[in-house]
């Protein structure tokens, strides 16, 4: 199938100026190197990597606000930097940490403005606004000034603003950053529905493994500007089997717990961290039988860990 996003040998060097003005030096920093991938229409792709890996830089090249230093990129058949405005009418973009909404005005006003910005016919706009208001549950705060919204509400508002022109591609940079579990879930379910019902192609960066597990059949991992992995979620686990961690709070400090199916990796007073490699239920039962336990929590590996393992394994 024809790709909707196509990157080939994509690279970006930044020039950074250092030092005080008279003897300022210029240094080139390579943020993205030789990144190639294709995304087919209707895919949901997670773009992962630790801080400073080059995720946002890649996205900015895809949406046309950053010109690649090397390689080529096409989105929806357009060359992003050259056709920035035309592309803007066909894609939706949300930066989790920046808002396009009018801070002092009711959310409704910002959403109304997008009709003229994207030249959406009045009836289409009204219909989509009604739909988005329903699925994103915007109703209760449409009349509230944006500055008074919670982060989760604001994020839902930004998503609506990015989708009122029914873009075929949605690009999201850390859309769930800083959100509570309920808001995260709401946004994930919304994105799934958008993808299933409209076939919108979604490319998102995130630090949250939960986002990835719920949303993405395919993940790409970038580290140090290079693509380290591109494949299914199952493949990611196979490349980097990341153990879950059992955090055990004992009633009193004790020697490191010895139990089959887990390895104690850290002890801090009464709290111990066990890296699981066997059946969690059995390990928990055994630990509880052998020790007086105040609390046990099972922790999923976070994305930074998974990514680091991919590198360690290479």
């Amino acid at each position: 199938m024809e790709a909707v996003i196509e990157a080939e040998g994509l690279g970006k060097d930044y020039t950074v100026a250092e030092g005080p003005l008279p003897r300022r030096r210029r240094r080139r920093v390579s943020a993205v190197r030789d990144v190639s991938f294709r995304v087919a229409p209707g895919e949901v792709v997670g773009y992962l990597g630790p801080n400073g890996a080059g995720k946002s830089t890649t996205l900015k090249m895809l949406i046309g606000i950053l010109a690649p230093s090397a390689g080529r990129v096409r989105v929806a058949g357009l060359e992003p930097v050259r056709a920035r405005t035309r592309l803007a009418r066909r894609i939706g973009v949300v930066f989790g940490q920046r808002t396009t909404l009018w801070w002092d005005l009711p959310l409704r006003d910002s959403l109304a403005l997008t009709r003229h910005l994207y030249r959406v016919p009045r009836a289409d706009h009204a219909r989509r606004l009604a739909e988005l208001t329903e699925v994103l549950e915007l109703g209760p705060f449409l009349a509230t000034p944006v500055r008074q919204l919670s982060l989760g509400q604001r994020m839902r508002g930004d998503l609506a603003a990015a989708l009122l022109h029914a873009p075929e591609v949605l690009v999201l940079d850390e859309p769930t950053i800083g959100l509570d579990v309920v808001s995260k879930t709401a946004i994930r379910e919304f994105l799934l529905r958008l993808n299933a019902e409209r076939g919108t192609t979604i490319l998102l960066t995130t630090h949250d493994l939960g986002d990835v597990q719920r949303l993405c059949r395919r993940v790409m991992v970038i580290d140090g500007g290079r693509l380290a992995f591109d494949g299914g979620l199952a493949g990611l686990h196979a490349v980097a089997p990341s153990p879950r961690t059992l955090v055990v709070d004992l009633a009193a400090p004790a020697a490191p717990i010895a139990v089959a199916g887990a390895r104690t990796v850290r002890v801090e007073g009464p709290r111990q961290w066990l890296e699981l490699n066997g059946n969690p239920a059995r390990v928990i039962a055994q630990v509880a039988a052998d020790h007086e336990v105040a609390d046990i929590t099972l922790r999923e590996p976070d994305i930074e860990e998974v990514v680091h393992r991919i590198y360690a394994g290479r």
């Binding site: 930044y14 606000i65 920035r84 035309r86 930066f95 005005l105 403005l113 910005l117 000034p145």
Partner: protein, 266 residues
Amino acid sequence: MRVYLSVFGCALRRYSGYRAATAAGLFTNSVFGVINALVLLAVFAARPQINGYTAIDAVTQVYVAQALLGPVDVIGRPLALAERIRSGDVAVDLLRPAHPMAWFLAQDLGRAAFAVVFRSVPTFCVGLALFRLALPQEPARWAAAGLALLLAVLVSFTLRYLYALAGFWIGDARGVTALAGTVGPLCSGLVLPLVLFPDAVAGVLRALPWSAMVQVPAEIVLGKATLPGGTVLGGLAFQAAWAAALLALGALLTARAARRVAVQGG
């Protein structure tokens, strides 16, 4: 075009939310107007005429200036754009299918329209209540004064837009803003009517764009022969020329800045 009208409307509604700030501005304008007028009246008590200005002319200019201060930002307070360049939020502005300068101009016109009604008109009324002012007699000159106000807003916007754009090249436009805060009031005729400066200095200041924000509109209200070309029409042409030149420069530099962001990252 519709989109800029909507932006204008949004800005208008946005500023109408700032009631306390508006009241404070109105109070400041009125008080400064009184002080400024009293100082000038003292000056003119010693000399009834200075360079064709009478005491009434000078006090009228004081209140024209104070009335202009709401819509026309002589002090050069930074546009939101300046902070957006510094924080990188400008990426969002470049992502919109709209021209950034037109977008910010529409916002500033919204702000100005609100200020004309809720700052300029009441401030001028305070002046009328407290002092004798020289008002235009012919309706045509009132129309000219309205046009002069619009052109002054345009010049003020473009100057501030250019100050903010400087941030793309020097990283942080706050130094420029601080400098503009002194240059603007002095060179525009806000601190002192330009007629009170020595002729040589006044001649230079009259040619610069800042004079289009206060001195020229005031002289249009007063119908002075010291206007560029000696007529009201000449004054309007002077303002329009600066507005056009600065807008063209702004458009040119916006394209450069967008290219620079695209190359260097924002």
